[in-house]
C-alpha cells in the first residue's frame, strides 16, 4: 500500500517536527514493514504558473502553435504542440535554464520559430499519465508562482508491505498510519474534520437480510452535485497512490478509502430506490463494472435494488448502476460486511479489489458513519451548494462495542523479563487510543473498536502493543534459565544422518532430494501407471509417490547424460495406504555389463549398513515386487525374521527406456523398521590361542543352480570345531558350476589332533554323499 506523507502531515499536529524521510526505519520495527520510499517532484525545476495571452497557428506546421505566455514578470514566445492551447489557459511553464528528467531547457527553434521554454503536460510533471495536452490549472490560479508551491507535487511516497498489515485493519488508510506515526514520535493525531448531517426528512429504504454477513449499512442521498471536477491536489494524490482519477464522486470514494480504510460506493440515485442486502441466488448472472458477466453462488452477498442486483457487496459495483457523468445526485454507501464472506466471494469470483482487500481484514463497523461524514465534508469543499436528499440512514442491527481486556502486571513482567512502570504502560496504550485504568495488580484496558474486530482480544495482544512501542531494541537479551534435565533424543533424525553420512563416505553416494509426487511425464516415458493420494486442483504431477525408487530412477535418467557411473540416495517420504512412510533408497548406476558387480555391491552395502550401524546380520531371500522390477532379481532383506527392504533391478522394458547402455540396481530399506531395531551389542569372542586349519572343498553343481541352494544344505552340517565357513570361488564350466567353499576349523581349548581333523573330513564327505553332492577330488 502506498502512503503519501503529504496526507499524513494533514493529520498530525506539529508534523514539521517529524523527519518524514527517516521515520520509516522506526516504523518498520514498531508497526509494519516498509518496502520502499520514493521522493516525488524531483524530476524538474523552474516550472511556474503562466497564462496564455496570445495563440496563433504556426505558419509551417499543422500541429504547432505559437503562444505568447505571461509569466507575471515577462511575456515569452513559446512554440507548443499541444491541441488544448487557447487564450486564457493557465498552465505550467518550464523556463529556459530549467530541468526536466535530466534535460536542460534552452532557447531553440521549432520549425524555424524560437521557443523560450516549454508548456508541460501532467505526465511531464510526473503527476498523471495524461500526455494528450498541457496541464490546465484552475482559472483563479495566480501566475508566475513556482508550481510546487501551489500543488502537492513534492511528496514522499512510502510503500508498505501489505502482508505485514493482514492483522491490522486500522492501518489500511492514511489516518491509521498517521496514528501510529504520532504514537511512535510522541506527537498528536488531529481529529478528522467531519460534516454535520442535518436533514429532517425521510431516511432511505434499506433492509439487511443477513445481519450476520452485513454488520452495518450506512447510506445517504446527496443532491445538486454540480461540480464533478476533482481538485488537482486530490488527483495528484490518487495518482501517487496508484489510482486513476475518474470524476469527483468516484475519486472521493477512493480518497476516503485511502484516507480512512473504509471502502465506499456511490450509486446513481436515479437507479436506486429500495436497498436490500442479501445473498444471491445460485446460478444468477451479474455483470460487474469491469464488464465481465459473472455466475453467482448462494454464498455471494449482494446489494440489491428492488430485488435486482446492483453490486457485489464489498467487492465491486455493477455496470448498470455506474455513476454517469450527467448525474448530480448520488446515494452513498458506507457499509461493513463480514470479512470471510467478502473474502470467499473475492476468491471464487477471482475479483480481488481494493475494497475487498480491506473488508477481508475485518473493518471497524464504527467507521461507516465517520467515513460518510468525511465524504460529505470533502464533497462540500467542491460543491458548497449541494443538498441532502435523505437523512443519514444507518441500519446497524448489532452494535459492536469496545472490548475490555484485563492485563495482569505479573504476566506482562513475565513476558518482558523486566518491570515497566505503570505510567509508561498507560502512556503507550493511550497513544494508540486504548483507555487504561491502572489497578493494583492489573491494567483494565478498553480496546478501541478499530483494533478490537480481531487484532486485539487477549492480554498477549496488549503485551505486543506495549512491547513494540516501547521498542524491542530496548530489551536486553537474557539466557534461558531452565532445570538441567537429561534430554532423550528421538532416533529418526540422528540415525538418518548417520546412515547418509556412512553411505556418502564409504560408498560415494550422493544425497538427492526429490519431490513427493510422481512426475507424470516421466512415468509416461517409462510406461508405468500409478494411483495414489492426489493433490487437488492439479492434473499433472499430482499423484503422490508410493515408490521412492522411481524418484531416484528419474534422477538417474537426468544424470546419465553427464555421468556413466554413480550412486545416489535419499531418505524420503512415500505415501502408502494413506499413511506416511519413510524409506531409505539407494540407486547404483553403471554400465549394463556391470549388473553383477552392482548387484553384489548393493548386497555388500546392505550387510555393511546393518552390521556396522546396527550390529545386525541380514539374510537374503527371493521376494516379489511391482512388475516394473526384474522379477528374477528381487531379494528380500531379512533381519530378525522381518523383511525390512529389498534389492532389485528394473525390468528390461523400463531399463531400456531409460538407457540401453546403463543398468540400475536399487536397494531400499523401510526406514521406520530400521529405526525400530536396537543397536545390538557386539558379540565379542576371545581370540583362540591355538592354531586353526583351513579346509577347501570344491563342490560341483549344475550350471543354473544358485549358491543359495548349496548354502542352505551346508547349513545343516554342524560340528563343534567349525569356526567359519565362506564362499571362496565360483567357476563356471559348460554344464557345471564349481563352488569352492572354505571351512576354518579349530578349538579354543587345544590344538586339533590329526584324528580330529580326519574325523571332520570324513564326516563332511559322508554328509556330501548323503546329500548327493560331488566334490572335485584333489
Amino acid at each position: 500500500m502506498k502512503i503519501s506523507c503529504n496526507i499524513l502531515k494533514k493529520h498530525i499536529k506539529n508534523s514539521d517536527k517529524i523527519d518524514f524521510l527517516n521515520i520509516w526505519d522506526k516504523f518498520t520495527i514498531r508497526s509494519a514493514e516498509v518496502e520502499g520510499i520514493e521522493i516525488k517532484g524531483q524530476n524538474f525545476d523552474n516550472v511556474v504558473t503562466a497564462k496564455i495571452i496570445e495563440c496563433e497557428k504556426h505558419p509551417k506546421s499543422e500541429k504547432l502553435s505559437i503562444l505568447k505566455v505571461d509569466t507575471g514578470e515577462e511575456v515569452l514566445q513559446i512554440v507548443c504542440g499541444a491541441p488544448n492551447v487557447r487564450v486564457g489557459l493557465i498552465g505550467a511553464l518550464i523556463k529556459i535554464g530549467g530541468h526536466i528528467d535530466d534535460i536542460t531547457i534552452s532557447k531553440r527553434p521549432l520549425v524555424g520559430i524560437d521557443s523560450y521554454g516549454m508548456m508541460c503536460s501532467g505526465k511531464e510533471l510526473g503527476i498523471s499519465d495524461d500526455h494528450s495536452g498541457i496541464i490546465e490549472l484552475p482559472e483563479d490560479t495566480p501566475i508566475g508562482i513556482d508550481i510546487k508551491k501551489i500543488l502537492p507535487i513534492e511528496d514522499i511516497i512510502v510503500e508498505i508491505d501489505n502482508k505485514s498489515l493482514t492483522h491490522r485493519p486500522d492501518l489500511w488508510g492514511h489516518y491509521g498510519i498517521a496514528r501510529e506515526i504520532a504514537a511512535i514520535t510522541g506527537t498528536e493525531l488531529l481529529p478528522l474534520e467531519l460534516a454535520d448531517v442535518n436533514y429532517d426528512g425521510k431516511e432511505l429504504n434499506v433492509t439487511i437480510e443477513n445481519p450476520d454477513l452485513c454488520y452495518r449499512y450506512t447510506s445517504l442521498k446527496i443532491d445538486n452535485i454540480k461540480n464533478s471536477k476533482t481538485p488537482l491536489w486530490m488527483q495528484i494524490f490518487l495518482y501517487y497512490a496508484g489510482m486513476k482519477s475518474i470524476n469527483l464522486t468516484v475519486d472521493l470514494t477512493n480518497y476516503i478509502m485511502l484516507e480512512l480504510g473504509q471502502p465506499m460506493h456511490a450509486f446513481d440515485s436515479r437507479k436506486v430506490n429500495n436497498i436490500e442486502i442479501g445473498l444471491a441466488k445460485a446460478g444468477d448472472k451479474y455483470t460487474t463494472l469491469d464488464g465481465i458477466e459473472r455466475t453467482l453462488t448462494d454464498h455471494d452477498l449482494m446489494i440489491k435494488n428492488d430485488s435486482k442486483y446492483i453490486a457485489i457487496a464489498g467487492i465491486m459495483g455493477g455496470l448498470d448502476s455506474e455513476i454517469i457523468d450527467d448525474t448530480d445526485s448520488i446515494i452513498l454507501e458506507s457499509a461493513c460486511f463480514e470479512a470471510s464472506t467478502v473474502r470467499k466471494t473475492a476468491i471464487s469470483q477471482g475479483l480481488r479489489t481494493e475494497a475487498s482487500t480491506r473488508y477481508e481484514k475485518s473493518l471497524d463497523p464504527n467507521l461507516t458513519i465517520i467515513a460518510s461524514k468525511r465524504f460529505l465534508r470533502l464533497l462540500k469543499d467542491e460543491n458548497p451548494d449541494l443538498t441532502l436528499g435523505s437523512a443519514l440512514t444507518d441500519v446497524y442491527p448489532n452494535e459492536f462495542k469496545e472490548k475490555e481486556v484485563i492485563l495482569n502486571k505479573s504476566l506482562l513482567y513475565r513476558y518482558f523479563d523486566f518491570e515497566l512502570e505503570d505510567e509508561a504502560v498507560k502512556h503507550i496504550l493511550e497513544s494508540l487510543e486504548f483507555k487504561v485504568e491502572i489497578k493494583k495488580d492489573y491494567f483494565k484496558v478498553i480496546v478501541p473498536t478499530f483494533r478490537a474486530t480481531k487484532d486485539v482480544t487477549i492480554a498477549a495482544d496488549l503485551i505486543e502493543e506495549i512491547g513494540r512501542i516501547y521498542g524491542y531494541e530496548n530489551f536486553v537479551p537474557k539466557p534461558v534459565k531452565m532445570d538441567l534435565n537429561f534430554v532423550k533424543q528421538e532416533p529418526a533424525y540422528d540415525e538418518g544422518y548417520i546412515v547418509k553420512n556412512y553411505l556418502a563416505t564409504k560408498y560415494n553416494c550422493h544425497e538427492v532430494h526429490t519431490y513427493l509426487w510422481n512426475k507424470t511425464s516421466f512415468l509416461k516415458e517409462i510406461n508405468i501407471t500409478k494411483d495414489n493420494v492426489k493433490l487437488l486442483g492439479k492434473s499433472e504431477d499430482n499423484i503422490l509417490r508410493d515408490d521412492l525408487n522411481l524418484s531416484l530412477l528419474e534422477v538417474a535418467f537426468n544424470n546419465i547424460k553427464y555421468y556413466d557411473e554413480f550412486n545416489i540416495m535419499e531418505i524420503g517420504t512415500i505415501i502408502k495406504d494413506n499413511e506416511n512412510h519413510k524409506m531409505l533408497s539407494i540407486l547404483l548406476c553403471g554400465p549394463q555389463k556391470d549388473l553383477k558387480n552392482l548387484y553384489n555391491k548393493a548386497k555388500e552395502m546392505t550387510v555393511n549398513i546393518l552390521r556396522n550401524l546396527k550390529n545386525k546380520t541380514p539374510i537374503f531371500d527371493f521376494g516379489s515386487s511391482e512388475t516394473y522390477y526384474n522379477q528374477d532379481l528381487i531379494q528380500d532383506i531379512i533381519v530378525d525374521n522381518n523383511i525390512i527392504g529389498q534389492i532389485k533391478t528394473f525390468n528390461k522394458n523400463v531399463n531400456n527406456k531409460i538407457s540401453k547402455k546403463h543398468t540400475f540396481v536399487v536397494l531400499e530399506i523401510d526406514f521406520e523398521k530400521y529405526l525400530n531395531f536396537d543397536l545390538d551389542k557386539t558379540n565379542y569372542q576371545e581370540i583362540s590361542k591355538y592354531p586353526s586349519t583351513e579346509l577347501d572343498y570344491t563342490i560341483i553343481m549344475k550350471r543354473g543352480e544358485y549358491y543359495d541352494k548349496l548354502s542352505k544344505i551346508l547349513d545343516e552340517f554342524t560340528s563343534p570345531i567349525i569356526i567359519n565357513r565362506k564362499l571362496v570361488d565360483i567357476y563356471l564350466e559348460e554344464k557345471t558350476k564349481k563352488i569352492t567353499i572354505r571351512y576354518i576349523v579349530g578349538s579354543k581349548e587345544k590344538t586339533l589332533t590329526s584324528e580330529e581333523l580326519q574325523n571332520f573330513k570324513d564326516e563332511f564327505i559322508k554328509f556330501l554323499i548323503k546329500n548327493e553332492l560331488n566334490i572335485v577330488k584333489e
Binding site: I29, D417, V480, M482, V487, E490, L516
Partner: protein, 336 residues
C-alpha cells in the same frame, strides 16, 4: 681437534653415499676406520692425553667410529639389496571419487548440533499432515485469512502437505508436555510456481522452548546466539512486529547482513538487514489446545528457512538446484 673431527664425519657421510659395491664398502671402511686412518691416529694419541682429555675424547672417538661403521654398512646393504624399481607415477593426482550430502542436510546438521548443545531435542514429523495439526492446533481455524498466506496443497483424502514445520509444535507438546526444548528440521510444501527464488518444496527448521518463565528477552538471546554460531561471527538482530496466528506477540527477526555487515548491499537491498526468521511467543490458545496451561507456562517458537540458510551459506542464487537431483550441482558439496 673438534673442528677436524666434524670435517671428518662430514666427508665420510658424503662419501658413503657413493657406496655401490662391496669394494667401495671395504675401501671406505679402510679409509676412515682402518689402521692407517685419521681416526686410528687420534685414538692412538689418547694414551698421551691428560686424564681429563682422555675422559672427554675416548667416548667421542668410539661413538664416531660406531656411527660411521653403521652408516657405511647401511649404505652398502641398501646398495646390494636395492629398492624395488618404481613402476608407477607417484605424482598423479588423488582419485577424487567422493560422495556428498545434500547442502540442506549439511546446514540442518550444523544448526541442530548448535541447538543440541543447549539441550534441544531434535524431532521430526509427517509430511502428509492433517488440517488439525497444520492449522487448527496452531490457532488458524477454518476460514481464517492466514490460510491464504500459505498456499496449501490439499489432498483428495482430506489431508494436506504441511505448509510449515509448526505442526510438530503441537505434536511435541502432546507427546512430551512442558517444559520442552525442541527443534524440527523438515520439508514443507507451498503451492507456488517455480522460479529462481520460489520452490514448492523446501526445508524449514522449527524451534520451540516452553517453560515457566520464558520471555521476549529469551527469544532475542537464543536467536542471536544461534545465529552467531551459525554464521561464526557476531550478528546484530532486530525484532519487528510480524503476524502469525500461532504466536503473540509475533515477530519478524532480521539479522544484520552478513555480506556487508549492515552497511547496505544488493543482498540486503541496501537496508543492512536480512529478514531471516519469523518467531514469537507461543499463542496462549496454541498452548491450551495441546494441553499446556498458558497460565503456568509461556514459550517461544521460531521458524528458520533451512533452504534459505543453505543459499546464504553457499551463495546459491537459484533455488531450483536443490531438488533437481543434478549431480553437477550436488557433487560440489562434501559430507560436512
Amino acid at each position: 681437534m673438534k673442528e677436524e673431527l666434524k670435517n671428518l664425519v662430514e666427508m665420510a657421510t658424503e662419501e658413503a653415499k657413493s657406496i655401490k659395491t662391496e669394494n667401495d664398502y671395504l675401501n671406505i671402511k679402510s679409509k676412515y676406520l682402518g689402521k692407517k686412518s685419521k681416526l686410528s691416529e687420534y685414538m692412538s694419541s689418547l694414551k698421551d692425553m691428560t686424564v681429563e682429555d682422555k675422559k672427554k675424547y675416548g667416548p667421542l672417538f668410539n661413538k664416531i667410529k660406531n656411527d660411521l661403521e653403521a652408516l657405511f654398512t647401511n649404505y652398502y646393504e641398501n646398495a646390494i639389496n636395492g629398492e624395488e624399481k618404481i613402476t608407477f607415477d607417484p605424482t598423479i593426482p588423488a582419485d577424487e571419487k567422493n560422495g556428498s550430502l545434500h547442502p540442506v542436510t549439511i546446514v540442518a546438521k550444523e544448526i541442530t548440533d548448535i541447538l543440541k548443545n543447549i539441550g534441544f531435542m531434535v524431532l521430526e514429523g509427517p509430511e502428509m499432515e492433517s488440517d488439525y495439526y497444520n492449522f487448527v492446533a496452531l490457532n488458524v481455524p477454518k476460514n481464517h485469512p492466514a490460510r491464504d498466506m500459505q498456499d496449501t496443497y490439499w489432498l483428495d483424502n482430506g489431508a494436506l502437505l504441511r505448509t510449515h514445520t509448526s505442526p510438530v509444535q503441537a505434536r511435541a507438546m502432546e507427546k512430551y508436555g512442558a517444559p520442552i526444548k525442541m527443534c524440527v528440521p523438515g520439508r514443507v510444501f507451498r503451492n507456488e510456481d517455480l522460479d529462481a527464488s520460489h520452490e514448492n518444496t523446501f526445508f524449514q527448521l522449527e524451534g520451540m522452548v516452553i517453560d515457566k518463565n520464558i520471555s521476549i528477552s529469551n527469544v532475542i538471546y537464543v536467536m542471536k546466539g544461534m545465529l552467531r554460531e551459525v554464521f561464526k561471527q557476531d550478528v546484530e538482530v532486530r525484532l519487528r512486529p510480524g503476524f502469525f496466528p500461532f504466536v503473540e506477540p509475533g515477530f519478524e527477526l532480521d539479522c544484520s547482513c552478513t555480506i556487508c555487515n549492515g552497511k547496505g548491499c544488493p543482498t540486503c537491498k541496501n537496508s543492512g538487514w536480512i529478514e531471516l526468521c519469523p518467531c514469537g511467543m507461543v499463542h496462549p490458545e496454541v498452548l491450551k489446545m495441546s494441553g499446556v496451561d498458558p497460565e503456568e507456562y509461556t514459550g517461544f517458537a521460531f521458524g528458520l528457512g533451512l533452504t534459505r540458510m543453505a543459499m546464504m551459506k553457499y551463495k546459491i542464487s537459484d533455488i531450483r538446484g536443490f531438488n533437481s537431483g543434478d549431480l553437477r550441482f550436488l557433487d560440489q558439496f562434501n559430507v560436512r
